[in-house]
Symmetry: C2
Subunit: 392 residues, 2 copies
């Protein structure tokens, strides 16, 4: 076909395939031990409970509604459940009008980018950060300001009042961040919220991993400190099943109304069917018994990987000890380029995500992300041993 | 909350809530006879078959895959089924790489807008046309060129070579169009395809209603005449269930690859769960027995509404006799503004969609769209009688 038949828009030309995506293709080979994917463990999926939920829906009058077009905002009982849960947990008094259901929280990022970014709009991101967020925002051509982070998460002292006043929003993942697995400390949450309020800065708080705290000791969310300044993004992908693609946005009603319009243009609404099922699964408090099992499973795998890192890695290699979530962030000696290491590692049947794609500006090349939840203990030991020997 | 905390992008400011959306809110009142919605009839939903499909998935090893993240392109067996079906029907030799599964075909329109429209890009639309298409494209700020249509659909003679050469694409719904219910004639399909090939024009062929031909005598699609120049959009919403939000895009691989990247940024992928279910439902030819039932049901309702229009409407009112689909397009005397009529009609418990929102430029105000598939015969008679008396 002649390429002259169409011409891509500027935004389409800038968009490149994500590194994660290309890597995942390689790691679909069954002989590769993959620490690359951000996939939750399938053994955490509540298959029986979901099957029961579907049966209950099909045995009720809900079936026809679950198969019909629905409101763009989402299924009302599910929205009510979400806002009740968040109000209770974060001590807030929000209403159902503060909630929009989205087709996975990736869609939340896209809708926020559409709603808030023009060419050259300044946005603040902690660094490193979720590459799917960067990829989505980049479509709308912002100017990134990167805020450095350390083991306590992003450092609010590095955020100037000037940037806070002039940026469209600050994007952050406070809990068990992707890619670092770090949790933003309590003191920093308070400080960041204060700075946001003082400078009328909008915080975009992305929280897919918040429930995966191994000790079940959740810190208050940014939205609890700065409810008028925060858009909170939640997800069922890591606590129920990602194949249902269910997430939600909580925010000020004037912002939610606009996001509803953008969502209507994007896909009319999130599938009714999956929303009905999710609600049926969770409405009677099922997550209270289910989530502790996921935490236990992930904590166990995390501990095991940390032990193997201790056992095999040379002294020049450093990593964090996550208190939750799915990722460990590993720092190698500065002369090692992890993107080059990946090619070598894949030849030895091991995969990870090189750190450079997680930086908005000035990528550091000596970091890598390890995911531990979809691999067995045998695979973890074998994979870490191989990686260590390659690094040495 | 202070509005100074965020500033909407230009595209967000331009976007307005759709008329259909506002109207649907009114028509949720159970006392209103609504000819407004574009909803398929719930009595056409294959509830038992879908329940069986879910059971089969949960009784197999597919369950965990159906609940896990999946590839952005979509579930491979579903893509294969789609391309086999289209190849057979349209006598083409496309491959699975020509197919991308989307979260309802509204998403296809959004992805195409993102991929192909910059500020001021010229795009061609038949007029009137689907307002959800206009709403989505408008986000990306194109310049619309409207091509007039008559009872045989859009008139290719009104498309100049100059416009065909310089436009990014032409958007058309050849079968039982929304809002007019018209079908593009065979001769015009050929002529349009020739013009597209001659001028290297991309055709966006949106075909959600193609299977709803009352006589089961489908005309060849534009993609069969101009396979290199056509992006074909299909949907399961009108032949299976819209609450599953499943559609697909068929096009040249270089275009599909870019749309895949944009889709990844938009929502990672369409829910795996609904894709597995749809495939399980249709894989053994179930649609061949199911679709004729929908056709019969819709034909019957259509005939009945046409009879009531004959019986009650004054001679100054005109309408088409659809050969398929869900809509009748009604022309009133020029002095009647149907948006004003709607307010009056809703006060009398009847709703429809006023025609003006379906025009890209220079809206005509004396048309209205009637949907007949979700209303009973009693409601049709009562509603048309009321409308006729208001028009008189």
């Amino acid at each position: 076909m002649s390429p002259t038949i169409w011409q891509f828009s500027k935004r389409a030309i800038t968009l490149k395939s994500s590194a994660i995506r290309e890597i995942l293709k390689v790691t679909e080979r069954p002989d590769v031990i993959s620490f690359a994917g951000g996939l939750p463990s399938p053994s955490s999926f509540p298959v029986k409970k979901i099957k029961q939920a579907v049966d209950d829906i099909f045995n009720s009058e809900d079936a026809l509604h679950a198969l019909q077009y629905g409101p763009t905002e989402g299924y009302q009982p599910l929205r009510t459940w979400i806002i009740d849960t968040i109000n209770h947990r974060e001590k807030l008094q929000l209403t159902v009008d503060n909630v929009l259901i989205v087709t996975g929280s990736q869609q939340a990022l896209d809708l926020l980018g559409k709603a808030l970014i023009d060419h050259g709009t300044k946005i603040l991101v902690e660094t490193p950060t979720y590459l799917g967020g960067l990829q989505t925002f980049t479509q709308y051509d912002p100017q990134y300001i990167a805020i450095d982070s350390d083991r306590y998460g992003l450092n609010p002292d590095l955020l100037t009042d000037e940037d806070a006043r002039t940026a469209s929003f600050l994007y952050t993942i406070p809990n068990f961040q992707n890619p670092t697995g770090r949790r933003l400390s309590l003191a920093r949450r308070q400080k960041l919220a204060e700075k946001a309020i003082k400078n009328a800065l909008l915080l975009v708080e992305d929280d897919p991993y918040g429930e995966l705290d191994y000790q079940g000791q959740r810190l208050p969310s940014l939205i609890s400190y700065a409810p008028n300044n925060t858009v909170y993004l939640g997800s069922f992908s890591k606590i129920l099943a990602p194949g249902m693609r269910l997430g939600y946005i909580i925010g000020p009603t004037a912002l939610i109304s606009k996001l509803v319009q953008l969502k209507q243009a994007a896909d009319l609404h999130t599938p009714s069917f999956t929303q009905y099922i999710a609600y049926e699964v969770i409405k009677d408090g099922y997550l209270l018994e289910h989530i502790p099992n996921i935490r236990k499973l992930y904590q166990h795998r995390c501990q095991f990987m940390l032990q193997q890192l201790e056992k095999y890695m040379p002294k020049t290699v450093h990593w964090n000890k996550p208190e939750g979530g799915m990722f460990i962030w590993v720092e190698l000696p500065e002369h090692i380029n992890t993107t080059e290491l990946l090619t070598l590692a894949v030849n030895h049947q091991v995969a990870f995500v090189p750190g450079e794609s997680f930086f908005a500006n000035n990528p550091k090349r000596n970091y890598l992300r390890l995911a531990f939840v979809t691999v067995s203990e045998e695979q973890i030991e074998q994979g870490i041993k191989t990686l260590a020997s390659l690094i040495k």
